[in-house]
């Protein structure tokens, strides 16, 4: 299974990563190298195994639905590139 240029563009769009044209070919070849290794997963011994999502086959722990954190909106927003009055600023979305 190898990735075509069109597929690479689609994936890059899904990931919201702009891929510079001069990098496209090298990147495609790198990714195909990685996907080549994935052919090892065609091994028929895998067919009947139960997929494993978590190393300890743990179930999700639940906690009481109660407020545990205090409001730190301003502090947490300080790391944002642009914010004002408790809102994140982005380019205009609606004309």
């Amino acid at each position: 299974m190898s990735l075509t240029n069109d597929q690479l563009q689609t994936v890059a769009h899904l990931a919201r990563i702009a891929v510079e044209p001069e990098w496209t070919e090298a990147l495609r070849s790198d990714i195909n190298g990685i996907l080549d290794q994935a052919r090892r997963l065609d091994d028929p011994r895998l067919n009947d195994l139960e997929p494993m999502a978590h190393p300890l086959d743990q179930v999700q722990r639940l906690r009481p639905d109660s407020v545990t954190e205090t409001d730190q909106r301003e502090t947490l927003m300080d790391g944002a590139p642009a914010h004002e009055q408790g809102l994140f600023l982005v380019p205009k979305v609606i004309e």
Binding site: M1, L3, Q7, L8, V11, A12, L14, A15, R16, I17, A18, V19, E20, W23, L27, D30, I31, G33, I34, L35, D36, Q37, A38, R39, R40, L41, D42, D43, R45, L46, N47, L49, E50, P51, M52, A53, H54, P55, L56, Q58, Q60, R61, R63, Q72, T75, L76, D78, G79, A80, P81, A82, F88, V90, P91, K92, V93
Partner: protein, 496 residues
């Protein structure tokens, strides 16, 4: 004793190479204060780190937050993936180059509570993706044993810093080998605990079902001491293990007579550099000499493990790293023309090539039509590899083998071929797939570059791992050796 006395004393060598327990004794006996100790190590960082680039930030030491903890006054550095409130936390990325953590990770909170003194944040492969520490926005890190070699990755800065004795210990994280491989390359001891043993709260996520924090230190004894302070249940991490933490130090002196050590025969194959194989075999002979019995075990399919990991981890990364969108954290591109442009250029400029490569691989593996062929298949492979370990542990108590196929490679050696770089992780990744605890223990040198012995335990059997490693370290002195650093005048125990 004043700071200047500490620096002038030839005893600097003794001090900087001392165990944490010895440093604590000196503090308690009043031979020096915690400020003296912090100053002595800070001075070493100042002198030596310019040639290594192991740290990305320095932190002004503060008085220990505790006077009764087991690490009071002991200096350390955090891998720059752990949030410590008010410190810049970059994860080795341009994306977070100026980001200041607004809260403490649980690991930081616990180490502070036990009195440890933070001196800086260590360099790392960007977002913990890499095996050579060449993927950092802040530049590559040099191996203290040979500056033309890589220190390993992704906790390369932490391993190099401890290797050069810039600090007694450092934190690290291990997703596919990122504590054990750099520890092996830098001649230091590292432990990656069982998945869930150390809280992931405030540790920037790469692949959440693999990521595990741990310790890099000089010896197994030091690792045991620090791990005991870091480990334990945390309700703020939904995958944290709710089980008691044993006293890892208490069991260090137990004899390993009768211990069954499993030797994975497939790991001693053509893929392994023969000289590394010899060093590891000699280490296993020492375990035998200490009374352990060895038994051959089967751990096949390392290639399948590798293939599975390099789909699963990128898949998880593609989801975890979607939060870096130029809106809520860190970097934003200049003059975005619309929201789409903001996202795409921010992420294209903010992430380095390896991170982008993995996000793209992960996005592809999770995309419609490919999920079953890649992601689900890889999850089945995870089961296969875990089953192999389970069967092996029916015959033995710990598994011993190499950490890496070769000693540290030259800087730039693998940068042209990511798939080849991934082969570096062939002996460490299976352990992460199964969520088992693993250690790297210094076991000699090949042409002046360190070699590590890997010890792997059953889930939550860290106490046994540090016990075995400590018993080994009672018989050898590899972990006591210090690199000969050009800038280092305080070294009378150097390796030639």
């Amino acid at each position: 004793m004043s700071t200047s006395d500490t620096q002038h004393r030839g005893g600097d060598a003794a001090l900087i190479n001392a165990s944490i327990a010895r440093l604590r004794d000196g503090l308690v006996a009043g031979e020096y204060t915690s400020a003296d100790l912090a100053a002595a190590f800070a001075q070493r960082i100042e002198t030596i780190d310019p040639s290594l680039n192991s740290l990305v930030s320095r932190v002004e030491p503060v008085e220990p937050a505790s006077s009764t903890g087991r690490l009071v006054g002991i200096p350390y550095v955090h891998k720059d993936i752990f949030c410590a409130k008010g410190t810049r936390t970059t994860c080795g990325s341009r994306m977070l180059a100026d980001w200041v953590a607004p809260y403490d990770s649980t690991v930081h909170e616990r180490l502070s509570r036990s009195g440890a003194v933070l001196l800086g944040k260590s360099n790392m492969d960007e977002f913990a993706m890499g095996s050579s520490n060449e993927n950092s926005y802040f530049g590559a890190v040099a191996n203290p044993w040979d500056v033309s070699a890589v220190p390993g990755g992704s906790s390369g800065g932490s391993a190099a810093a401890v290797g050069a004795r810039l600090v007694p210990f450092a934190t690290g994280t291990d997703t596919g080998g990122s504590i054990r491989q750099p520890a092996a390359f830098c001649g230091v001891t590292g432990i990656k605990p069982t998945y869930g043993r150390v809280s992931r709260y405030g540790m920037i996520a790469y692949a959440s079902s693999f990521d595990q924090g741990g310790v890099i230190a000089k010896s197994a004894e030091d690792c045991a001491l620090v791990l005991g302070e870091m480990a334990g249940f945390d309700e703020r991490d939904s995958t944290s293990a709710d089980r008691p933490v044993p006293d890892y130090v208490a069991g260090l002196d137990e004899s390993i007579r009768g211990l069954r050590v499993g030797i994975p025969k497939q790991w001693f194959s053509d893929a392994l550099d023969p000289a590394v194989g010899d060093a590891v075999s000699a280490a296993i002979d020492e375990l035998r000499a200490a009374g352990a019995e060895t038994v051959e075990v089967d751990l096949p399919d390392a290639d399948i493990a590798l293939a599975a990991y390099y789909l699963l981890a990128p898949a998880e990364a593609s989801s975890n790293l979607s939060r870096f969108d130029g809106v809520r954290f860190g970097y934003r591109c200049e003059d975005p023309k619309d929201l789409q442009d903001l996202y795409e250029r921010t992420r294209s400029e903010g992430f380095g090539s390896e991170v982008k490569r993995r996000i793209l691989v992960g996005t592809y593996a999770l995309s419609a039509g490919y999920y079953d062929a890649f992601y689900r298949r890889a999850q089945k492979a995870r089961r296969l590899v875990t089953d192999h370990f389970q069967r092996a542990f029916e015959q033995c108590d710990v598994i011993a083998g190499p950490v890496t196929p070769t000693p540290a490679f030259d800087r730039g050696a693998h940068s042209a071929d990511p798939a080849k770089m991934y082969l570096e992780d062939i002996f460490t990744i299976p352990v992460n797939l199964a969520g088992l605890p693993g250690m790297s223990v210094p076991a000699g040198f090949v042409e002046g570059r360190p070699v590590g012995l890997q010890l792997i335990g059953r889930h939550f059997d860290e106490a046994r791992l540090v016990n075995v490693a400590h018993q080994y370290q009672q018989r050898v002195d590899w972990h006591e050796r210090m690199p000969s650093l050009a800038a280092d005048s305080a070294n009378d125990n150097r390796e030639g």
